[in-house]
C-alpha cells in the first residue's frame, strides 16, 4: 500500500484476534496485488498497457471503483480525475525548475475522465499514453473492505488505519468511541485535534510532507488537471463520513479546489470536515 498500516481489534480471544489480523493482512495484500501501478500483473497495469489498443475486461469491484471515481470527477468539476496521474511525468518528485507550458499541454492532452469508455464489463482508454491510477480511491476502499471483513468474522469493535485513513466501529474496551488524532499539518508527531469516532471513518489529505520547492517558492503537490499547474490549495483537509472511501475522496477534492472555492464547497457538501489553510487557520465543523 506504500504506507504504514495498523489494525486494532477487540476480540474474545487472542487466537481469534490473530486469525482476523491475518485475514486483514491478506485482504490488504490482495488490493496491493490487484491495483498497484508498480506491478505488471495488476489490473491497473493491464488497463494502462492497452491504452489506445484494446478494451480490458473488468470485474464488479473494479467497475464499482471506476464508477465511483467518475462521480468524484462530476462532483469536483473535473478536478478529481484518476487519469491525471500522467502529470507525474512532468511534475516529478524533487523537480527544481518550473516546467515549460508546451510540456504541460502535451501531458494534459492525455487527461480527462470524460474520455474514458466504461461499461459494466470493460474499460477502454482511447489514447496511447493515457493512464488510470486507482491511488486516489483504493487505499480508502481497502480500509472499508478490511473493516467489513473484521465485522464479518464476528468482532464488533475495531479500528483500521491505512496511512492516516481510519475506519472505527464499535467501542473501545472502556466502552467509549475510538479517539483519533488528526495529524498536525506542519508539526510531525503531534495532533491538531482529537476526534471521537464510532462507526465512522476519518480521512486526511495534504499536510507538510509533499510539496515542490522550486526557486525558493513552495508549490502544492496537487496539480489542476485542466491547466497542468499546481493549485493554490488549503494545507490539509480532514473529513468524517460513514465510509472511508467517501471521506478520502471528499478530503482530496477539498485540496484540489483553490482555497476559497474549497472552503465554500466543503461547507455545502453535507460532510463534517476540518480544513487548515496555509496560515494554519482552522475551518469546519469537525473539531469544535
Amino acid at each position: 500500500m506504500g504506507c504504514p498500516c495498523e489494525v486494532r481489534l477487540l476480540a474474545d480471544s487472542t487466537e481469534m484476534a490473530q486469525q482476523t489480523a491475518q485475514a486483514c493482512t491478506s485482504e490488504a495484500q490482495r488490493f496491493e496485488r490487484k491495483y498497484s501501478r508498480y506491478l505488471d500483473a495488476s489490473v491497473t497495469s493491464s488497463i494502462n498497457r492497452s491504452a489506445g489498443l484494446s478494451v480490458t475486461p473488468i470485474d464488479p469491484e473494479t467497475y464499482g471503483l471506476l464508477q465511483y471515481a467518475g462521480v468524484c470527477s462530476e462532483q469536483s468539476n473535473g478536478l478529481f480525475d484518476i487519469t491525471s496521474g500522467v502529470l507525474r511525468q512532468v511534475w516529478y518528485k524533487n523537480r527544481q525548475t518550473l516546467p515549460e507550458q508546451q510540456a504541460l499541454d502535451q501531458i494534459t492532452r492525455l487527461i480527462g475522465w470524460h474520455k474514458v469508455i466504461l461499461t459494466e464489463n470493460d474499460v477502454f482508454l482511447p489514447e496511447r499514453g493515457m493512464e488510470i491510477d486507482f491511488g486516489g480511491v483504493v487505499k480508502e476502499y481497502a480500509a472499508d473492505a478490511i473493516a467489513m471483513q473484521i465485522k464479518a468474522s464476528g468482532i464488533s469493535s475495531g479500528l483500521v488505519s491505512l496511512g492516516g485513513d481510519i475506519v472505527a466501529f464499535g467501542s473501545t474496551s472502556d466502552n467509549a468511541p475510538w479517539p483519533v488524532g488528526i495529524v498536525h499539518p506542519t508539526e510531525k508527531d503531534s495532533a491538531i485535534a482529537t476526534i471521537y469516532l464510532q462507526d465512522r471513518a476519518l480521512a486526511t489529505s495534504g499536510g507538510y510532507e509533499r510539496y515542490f520547492d522550486i526557486q525558493g517558492k513552495r508549490y502544492s503537490h496537487l496539480i489542476n488537471p485542466h491547466t497542468g499547474w499546481p493549485v493554490d490549495s488549503l494545507l490539509s483537509v480532514s473529513v468524517s463520513a460513514d465510509q472511508a472511501i467517501v471521506a478520502g475522496s471528499v478530503s482530496s477534492i477539498g485540496l484540489l479546489f483553490e482555497r476559497h472555492a474549497a472552503l465554500e464547497w466543503l461547507a455545502h457538501s453535507g460532510f463534517a470536515y476540518l480544513a487548515v489553510d496555509q496560515d494554519l487557520n482552522c475551518y469546519g465543523t469537525l473539531a469544535d
Binding site: E61, Q67, E74, Q75, I245
Partner: protein, 383 residues
C-alpha cells in the same frame, strides 16, 4: 449533465460508494434475543357512565420473547413468542335515553383470558434485495388465528432508495365463550387479505423519509359476538397511507421522528394519526425519548349512540365505542440504556380519549371511551 449538479455531494458520493461490493446487504451477524413485559391498565369508568355491571375495565399483562439469528451467509431466522393475560370487564352494550347521556351495560369483572402467539420467520438476503416469509399462529379460549406473510425489499439508487412489497393472508376462527348461555353465535370464521407497498428514501446525510400504502380486505363474521346488539357488514375494505420522517440533528445529538397515518374504510371511518417523538442521546449509553401521539376518527356509518332493538337484526348497527367519533392523545416517555452487547428500556404511556378531542365537532361522547396507563420493561442482548 445538469441533473447531477443539483444532487448534493453527500448523496452522490455515498450512493456511489454503497454500490461497491464491500457494502452489500448483510444479514445480522450475531444472534440477538430479547424479552419484554408490559402492564396495561384501563382506568375505571367515571361515576354515572355505567348503568349495570362492573365499573372496572381491562387489566392486561403481556410477556414477549424474540430471537433472531443468522444462518449461514445469506439467511436469518426469527422467532417471536407472546403471552397475554387479560382480566376485567368490557362493555356489552350502550343504552341511550332521551335527554340524557348514554350509559354502558358492562359485563361483570370476571373475564379471565390468556392469549398465546407464536411467529416464525425466515429471511433470505441477496446483494440488492431480501425476501422474508413468516407464519404466525395465535390461540385463546375463544379465538384462533393463522397467518402467512411474504415481504420483499429491493435497494435502488445505490441503496439510497428501497422498495418494499408485502402480501399476507390470515384466517381466524371465533367460538365465543358461554355461547349458549347468552345466545351468542357458536362459531364463525373470518379471513383477511392484505397487500402493501412502501418506499424509503434517504434524503441527505441526516434524513430519511418512508412512505407506504396498504389495502386490506376482511371477509366473514366481523361483528362483536360479546355485544348485546352488534350487527356489522360481512366485508370490510381498509386503506392506509403513511409517512415517516426521521431527521438527525447533529448539533444537539438528537433525532426527530414525525409520523402521519391516514386510514379509510368502507364502514365509513376515516382517521388521522400524527405522532412525534424526540430521541435525545444524553450520554453515549443513555437515550431519553419523549413522544406524543394525536388520533382522530369520525364515526362509522352504522354507528348508533345507543343499541336500538326496534331495528330488524339484518340492519347494521353497533354502539361499540371503537366505531364512534373521537380523538385521543397519548403521552409517552421511554428511557433506553445501551452497552456494547445489551440494552435495557423502560417505557411509560398515558392514553386519553374523548369525543371533544376529535376533529369532528358533531361527535357525541361515548361513555365507553378509554383511558389507560401502560408501563413496559424490555431487555435485549447479543450472543
Amino acid at each position: 449533465m445538469a441533473v447531477s449538479a443539483k444532487i448534493s455531494p453527500w448523496v452522490a458520493l455515498t450512493g456511489a460508494a454503497l454500490a461497491l461490493p464491500a457494502f452489500s446487504a448483510a444479514p445480522p451477524d450475531q444472534m440477538q434475543i430479547g424479552v419484554k413485559t408490559t402492564a396495561y391498565r384501563e382506568s375505571d369508568q367515571a361515576k354515572g357512565t355505567v348503568l349495570v355491571g362492573s365499573e372496572q375495565r381491562y387489566d392486561i399483562n403481556v410477556n414477549q420473547f424474540y430471537l433472531i439469528t443468522p444462518v449461514g451467509r445469506n439467511w436469518s431466522f426469527a422467532v417471536d413468542v407472546s403471552r397475554e393475560a387479560m382480566s376485567g370487564a368490557s362493555p356489552w352494550g350502550t343504552l341511550s335515553a332521551i335527554g340524557a347521556d348514554s350509559q354502558l351495560v358492562m359485563s361483570g369483572a370476571t373475564i379471565e383470558e390468556a392469549r398465546n402467539e407464536l411467529s416464525l420467520g425466515v429471511t433470505r438476503y441477496s446483494e440488492q434485495s431480501s425476501v422474508a416469509v413468516s407464519l404466525t399462529g395465535s390461540k385463546e379460549n375463544d379465538y384462533e388465528a393463522k397467518a402467512l406473510a411474504v415481504n420483499a425489499e429491493w435497494d435502488f439508487n445505490n441503496k439510497l432508495s428501497t422498495l418494499a412489497v408485502g402480501l399476507s393472508y390470515s384466517s381466524d376462527e371465533l367460538a365465543p365463550t358461554d355461547a349458549l348461555m347468552f345466545g351468542r353465535i357458536s362459531s364463525e370464521t373470518k379471513n383477511s387479505r392484505s397487500v402493501s407497498v412502501g418506499w424509503t428514501q434517504v434524503l441527505g446525510r441526516s434524513s430519511v423519509l418512508q412512505s407506504g400504502m396498504s389495502i386490506t380486505d376482511h371477509r366473514g363474521y366481523l361483528s362483536d359476538p360479546y355485544k348485546l346488539r352488534d350487527i356489522r357488514p360481512s366485508e370490510r375494505l381498509q386503506t392506509v397511507v403513511n409517512f415517516r420522517y426521521r431527521h438527525f440533528i447533529e448539533s444537539v445529538n438528537s433525532s426527530l421522528h414525525l409520523d402521519y397515518r391516514f386510514y379509510h374504510d368502507d364502514f365509513g371511518i376515516r382517521s388521522h394519526t400524527l405522532r412525534s417523538a424526540w430521541y435525545q442521546n444524553l450520554t453515549e449509553q443513555f437515550q431519553l425519548i419523549p413522544g406524543i401521539r394525536y388520533y382522530s376518527q369520525n364515526q362509522a356509518d352504522f354507528y348508533v349512540a345507543g343499541d336500538d332493538y326496534s331495528l330488524a337484526d339484518t340492519v347494521f348497527q353497533s354502539s361499540d365505542y371503537r366505531l364512534s367519533g373521537f380523538g385521543a392523545l397519548t403521552f409517552g416517555l421511554q428511557g433506553r440504556f445501551s452497552r456494547r452487547d445489551w440494552s435495557v428500556s423502560v417505557n411509560f404511556e398515558r392514553y386519553l380519549s374523548s369525543a371533544s378531542y376529535g376533529l369532528d365537532a358533531s361527535a357525541r361522547q361515548h361513555p365507553g371511551l378509554l383511558r389507560f396507563n401502560l408501563l413496559s420493561l424490555g431487555f435485549d442482548i447479543k450472543l
